[in-house]
Symmetry: C2
Subunit: 245 residues, 2 copies
């Protein structure tokens, strides 16, 4: 935890908040804070600031908070992901929030098992805390927007233009094009959306449909990676490329 | 599993191998192979080839193998890693082998807990199968060389020149330099070693010692990542950069 995320409703009018949950335990047991110490705090989807420790008890800490740094801008990269199996998706949530994505669009594909959609790993009660874990790691406050689309064709043909405007990429092991060259002409204001397929890849129909809707294929070298490894690798390559634009 | 890895001792003189372990189960249950079908096989640390299914039973499969493609070259990227906690290290082994590393040099640092070194996640019996899992994912046969060095200063001052020759990078969140620009002058034959610190980072002494021994600092953008996410992100950025050289 490199920043403690707070919800507005937790904070009193004078700026005080008492933490006796995992955050409080982290402050007392791991960071071993003492009265007067200052720690970095953030408001969920809001500004960043400083919390001064005013009281420490066995399992809890009281902070007086001041939010004096602006709200971070939303990460410029979005992800369209064919739903991986629940164990992999659970592992991905905090990593996606840490690397930085503006929205996470989950969808179906031929090689996605139907029952993946019936899992609690897609409920906000499960993924909310996992996303927050990633934001606290990366010192961000902006919760990615999550949407689930069971019909791939409807998503790509009808819904996607409303969800996203910008440069569209699709990860394709067959492609020789690299992320950096695909984004050479992107400008500073454009968002980038990357589509990542299921284990086993998009089928031909899916790949053609994506390409017909403006998705440009990019490769990741000759090695086939697991979905979660591929997500981290591609998203960080995109961040790297647009930070140089 | 995109390739089935075999050890030379498993294969008869005529090229036959019978698999009744996890590999056999994968072939029958997941890939649902039938007699006559061809699958990709590799020899651990050796050549790549084709296995033709000659017999299928409930839990086992017999293949006749022919190794007709050359041994893959060793990945040109090496990793020097401050030992993370066991749960993270266990998750990293297959991902490191999949992304492709020639050697994995594990070491101590001030912010590494002492008891991390006493865990079975550092025994070859544990990490061997996890590395093989990653190789089978990425269709590689070259097992990374693993070494464990409890004394950081001795490693950097005395042992490292014997282990590695090439370009040296160290991940440093404070640095503005990007991987791609740091490797602009690397040539096709050079290996790249990247040092990644513990959660909380290298301390000042460690960072200075690394820089005094030729490690050039590279940043990863403004976000602080978990060790395993940072490893995947940095290693894939390096592979991306050297594939363009």
């Amino acid at each position: 935890m490199n920043l403690i995320l707070l919800e507005a409703a937790e904070i009193s009018i004078s700026g005080d908040v008492t933490l006796d949950d995992a955050r409080g335990v982290h402050l007392t047991r791991v960071l071993k804070v003492g009265a007067g110490q200052q720690i970095r705090v953030g408001l969920l989807d809001g500004a960043i600031g400083t919390g001064t420790v005013t009281d420490v008890r066995d399992r809890g800490v009281t902070l007086r908070c001041e939010f004096n740094a602006p709200r971070p801008s939303r990460p410029r990269v979005d992800l369209l992901l064919a739903l991986p199996r629940p164990k992999v998706m659970r592992r991905l949530w905090p990593q996606l929030a840490a690397i930085g994505v503006g929205q996470i669009i989950l969808t179906n594909a031929e090689r996605v098992e139907r029952d993946y959609f019936d899992t609690h790993v897609l409920s906000a009660e499960t993924y909310g805390p996992l996303l927050i874990e990633g934001l606290q790691q990366a010192r961000d406050t902006r919760l990615p927007i999550v949407s689930v689309h069971r019909r791939f064709k409807v998503l790509v043909e009808d819904d996607l233009d409303g969800l996203f405007g910008g440069v569209r990429l699709v990860g394709d092991p067959q492609s020789e094009a690299r992320v950096a060259s695909a984004l050479v002409d992107a400008n500073r204001d454009q968002r980038v959306l990357v589509a990542i397929g299921p284990e086993g890849g998009w089928n031909d129909f899916e790949l053609r449909l994506l390409q017909a809707h403006g998705f440009q294929a990019v490769g990741m070298g000759p090695r086939t990676l697991r979905t979660d490894t591929a997500c981290v690798a591609l998203l960080s390559a995109i961040h790297d490329a647009i930070s140089r634009v």
